[in-house]
Symmetry: C2
Subunit: 110 residues, 2 copies
DNA sequence: ATACTATATCGCAAATATACGATTATATAA
DNA sequence: TTATATAATCGTATATTTGCGATATAGTAT
């Protein structure tokens, strides 16, 4: 963008946006799904399942880490990831208090 | 991107990503908040409240419409928007069934 | 008809995101 | 040590997003 105006918005607004941004790509949704579905944490199995190169998957994992949607751990030569449910819960809470407060599903509306 | 791989992911994955994408910018979060908070639908009042030019706000509104997060209605020279709660509910449902199914907040995990 | 108001659209510039191959770093195996 | 395997990072090309001013469009008022 010509200028980045994100700093002009509130902390909560940015937090919600950042969370949403982390899951705003189908590849990252698919990665989260894979991690959530497995009993134990996984790593490069994701690469086998997704239609993306290893480096691309690694980049997406990095973004998910940055947004704290997942936790990562090195295990020998492998890397192991799991869902950070705390962040999901926090998001759900913030999301609800942000949007549902004034919401009586207004019938006056268009 | 070099190539767009979004078509290689499932419908559900893309739906979740699209919804998230619509709220992945603090300006759009702020716009949704404004609309949700008012009794009646509003229009260019948003422009007064946000630190963005009128054309930029209009663009964001267009995106929110496209994602069906809001409904719009023309009222004279003014445009009137309101939250499309149906989409929010649908998202919540999809989100939960997608991520919470296998989730026992796995203690084996890192 | 003319002026005014509100909003959408267009065209452009700059910033970010996506994707990949090549390379690097680290751990394990031989 | 050397080879192998796994995953992160770098460099780069391209696509998309963000933002604004200018313009277009359409309703309302004079």
């Amino acid at each position: 963008m010509a200028q980045n105006k994100k700093g002009e918005f509130s902390k909560k607004e940015n937090e919600l946006a950042d969370f949403a941004n982390a899951i705003s790509h189908p590849a990252r949704v698919a990665i989260l799904k894979q991690i959530a579905d497995r009993e134990t944490c996984i790593c490069g199995e994701i690469v086998e399942v997704l239609p993306l190169a290893q480096s691309t998957v690694s980049q997406h994992l990095k973004e998910l880490l940055k947004a704290e949607l997942i936790n990562g751990e090195v295990d020998g030569t492998k890397s192991c990831y799991c869902i950070n449910w705390k962040t999901f819960e926090k998001f759900e809470k913030t999301f609800n208090e942000f949007f549902k407060k004034a919401n009586s599903h207004n019938p006056k509306c268009c």
